[in-house]
């Protein structure tokens, strides 16, 4: 039996491998290769070395998008995780109607990014209208609008992960701590938070990467306006590739830099969190 599984392993792997190669590996390799080409269609281009990478920095668009994106991600990672954790604590405290609230908080996550963007566009414009402004009148409105939107969408999802983490803490552990005289603060600091370290790792990872990969919400809420000042990396790459004639290769080069950047940040964060998890365990 063992032997025949080994014998046919390759056959069973084949369907998944084919999909992986066609949908991921080949486009990924082509993407990297094309970033060194000037091209109009993916099969028709000529090699120009590092020229596309040089062209990324002929204007400040990419750098501005990067700075905007980093600011946005830092703030939203903190606010989402604090908000989600606070909600998770509340909803595991045995308040009445917990399940209803959990469902309600989770619901925004089920709405698509474009729709979310439009909803918040209406809400924010409705509020700002009385001041004679709109969400695109000033980049700071767009920035905070995106932060609010991102929180609204993600807090519910992260909350579910935190709730799962909190519920996994053995009741005995908490009881023992209480008997030992731990107050609410100590309980939180020394028992709950160390015990849910894996949830913190996964939530930080998810919010960090989705902050950098944000696209549809950005497009629907501000479309980068005013004047690309609220444009994040993904939208900037899209606009470079599809919106600027002759810049397909530059868009591709930006995408390669973007991939490296997000991978680096995410891997660093994972390594850091894992280390803390081990220390806590």
């Amino acid at each position: 039996m063992q032997k025949s599984i080994q014998k046919y392993a390759a056959l069973f792997v084949l369907p998944a491998l084919t999909c992986f190669v066609i949908a991921f590996l080949v486009p990924m390799i082509m993407g990297v290769v094309l970033s060194f080409f000037r091209f109009t269609t993916v099969l028709d281009g000529h090699f120009i070395g590092m020229e596309n990478y040089r062209r990324i920095f002929i204007d400040r668009e990419f750098t501005n998008a990067l700075i905007f994106n980093i600011r946005f991600t830092l703030i939203s990672v903190v606010t989402i995780n604090l908000g989600a954790f606070a909600l998770a604590l509340l909803l595991t405290a045995g308040i009445k109607g917990t399940n209803v609230f959990r469902t309600i908080f989770f619901m925004p996550n089920l709405i698509g990014g474009i729709v979310l963007g439009w909803i918040w566009n209406l809400i924010i414009n409705g509020v700002l209208y009385s001041k004679g402004m709109t969400v695109v009148s000033d980049p700071k409105y767009g920035f905070w609008g995106l932060v609010v939107l991102m929180n609204w969408q993600n807090i519910g999802y992260m909350m579910v992960i935190y709730i799962a983490g909190i519920q996994n803490i053995p009741v005995e552990l908490i009881e023992a701590a209480k008997i030992d005289g731990a107050g609410q603060g100590t309980l939180l600091k020394s028992v709950i938070i160390p015990s849910i370290a894996p949830s913190i790792t996964i939530c930080t990872f998810l919010t960090l990467t989705s902050g950098f990969r944000l696209f549809d919400q950005n497009l629907a809420l501000t479309a980068g306006d005013p004047g690309k000042q609220t444009e994040m990396l993904a939208l900037n790459i899209f606009n470079t590739f599809y919106g600027r004639t002759g810049f397909e290769g530059v868009g591709q080069a930006k995408a390669v830099l973007f991939t490296i950047l997000v991978a680096l940040i995410a891997l660093t964060q994972l390594a850091f969190s894992r280390k803390r998890e081990e220390e806590a365990a």
Partner: protein, 426 residues
């Protein structure tokens, strides 16, 4: 003597570098399906045995489609509303020459504007004009006011920026009496809606600078100094300060919003072209009578602007290429579509006088074209180095409206980015 600035627009046709498949003609176009479906039905009825396949895509996806389709399967005709698409396709060598099949009876140029691409890559089909569209009923109401501050008595007498400014500012003061929310419709700055400024309005300073530097029409230049930026500021400020809409809200306004304001009588003036007729006449609750929709030139305060008249230009269909195009411009049913559904002005000899357009703006463009002693401004925005330059201008104008940039910074940015984009695209 009245001056009028209009520019060429209309539809352009290009023949893609692909052999026609027998029995099928494929046309790729940005015109909407409800319009082209009528063409298809009528054409196929008139030409049994030929299938007309129309691919309705916006211009950007149309270009992508042609690029990504292998040679031999590409559409035969690319039908777009502006020449930009053909520049891109031409650069990628995706267009075939079609000059030899052009109609010989049509002159090379109308005014200073060549009808067809000098390289023969695309042919014009129709012409259009743009300027400041005004509602003459509101203007008459203003000139009848007992307390009006200007000496002139009709909109026809406005022939320079100083007069326009005096009239507009006094009208704005009397907006309650005139029943309007502002003289000018919203200066639409929403994403993708700033073309009336970054392309059409900017044409004015480009035109004057090129004439001053003796650069002939259509010749590209690396150095655009924005010499006439102050004049552009004149009119742009006039639009902003005498508007239906507060400056802070303009970032969310679209061209459709502006045209609706005009159609509903909330604004007396709007900068747009004769293609906007359908957006006025088609608005539900339209309050503007056909006879009151008129054009005036975009005055900016340049010396001698009183003598500037209409730009006359035209585009010609590549008649011999496909039966479709011959049908479109020579058969009664095809011509009726061009006139009634597209509202194009078609100055070609296949069109009799009674086949000329009947919509008020197109008629007014013709009126300006036939005025004596006026010289038209040409469509010089075709030499803008790239779409990116227009995007940058739109962003800078948005910053100016919000007070984040001074006008001098806007002008300097325009001049700098022009050089950069010229170097990148040439």
């Amino acid at each position: 003597m009245h001056a009028m600035r209009t520019a060429l627009a209309g539809a352009l046709l290009a023949v893609c570098a692909a052999p026609a498949l027998a029995g099928t003609v494929t046309v790729i176009t940005s015109f909407p399906k409800d319009l082209t479906q009528a063409y298809k039905t009528a054409f196929e009825k008139a030409n049994p045995g030929i299938t007309l396949e129309i691919l309705n895509k916006n211009t950007v996806s149309g270009i992508a489609f042609v690029r990504e389709t292998p040679a031999g399967q590409r559409p035969e005709v690319f039908w777009a509303s502006a020449p930009d698409a053909f520049e891109v396709l031409g650069r990628d060598k995706l267009l075939a020459k079609s000059a030899d099949i052009a109609n010989k009876d049509v002159p090379d140029k109308i005014g200073s504007y060549p009808i067809n691409d000098p390289g023969g890559m695309y042919l014009g089909q129709a012409l259009a004009g743009y300027g400041i569209i005004y509602n003459d009923a509101i203007m008459r109401a203003y000139f009848a006011l007992p307390n009006k501050a200007v000496k002139i008595n009709s909109a026809d007498e406005i022939n320079n920026f100083a007069t326009l400014k005096a009239v507009v500012e006094d009208m704005q003061k009397n907006k309650a009496a005139l029943g309007i929310q502002g003289v000018f419709a919203s200066t639409s700055m929403a994403a993708g809606n700033a073309w009336r400024w970054e392309t059409h309005l900017v044409n004015v300073p480009i035109y004057w600078e090129l004439r001053e530097k003796n650069i002939p029409f259509g010749e590209k230049t690396r150095n655009f100094d924005f010499t006439y930026s102050a004049q552009m500021k004149n009119i742009f400020d006039l639009y902003l300060n005498n508007s239906t809409t507060a400056k802070g809200l303009l970032g969310a306004k679209s061209v459709d919003d502006a045209m609706a304001e005009f159609a509903l009588g909330q604004a007396a003036m709007v900068q747009n072209g004769n293609w906007g007729a359908s957006q006025i006449l088609g608005v539900k609750g339209n309050k503007v009578a056909d006879k009151d929709i008129k054009f005036m030139p975009i005055y900016t305060g340049v010396k001698g602007e009183e003598k500037i008249g209409l730009c006359v230009g035209g585009y010609l269909p590549p008649g011999g290429v496909t039966q479709f195009l011959t049908w479109l411009f020579s058969s009664p049913s095809g011509k009726a579509f061009v006139k009634n559904d597209l509202m194009f002005i078609t100055p070609f000899n296949t069109f009799a006088d009674n086949e000329l357009p009947t919509d008020p703006l197109a008629k007014d463009v013709i009126r300006w074209m036939n005025k004596d002693g006026v010289t038209s401004l040409s469509w010089d925005f075709s030499i803008i180095p790239s779409k990116e330059w227009k995007n940058q201008m739109a962003a800078a104008l948005g910053d100016y409206i919000a007070g984040r940039k001074s006008w001098n910074e806007v002008a300097a940015h325009g001049a700098d980015v022009w050089k950069r984009e010229f170097d990148l695209t040439n």
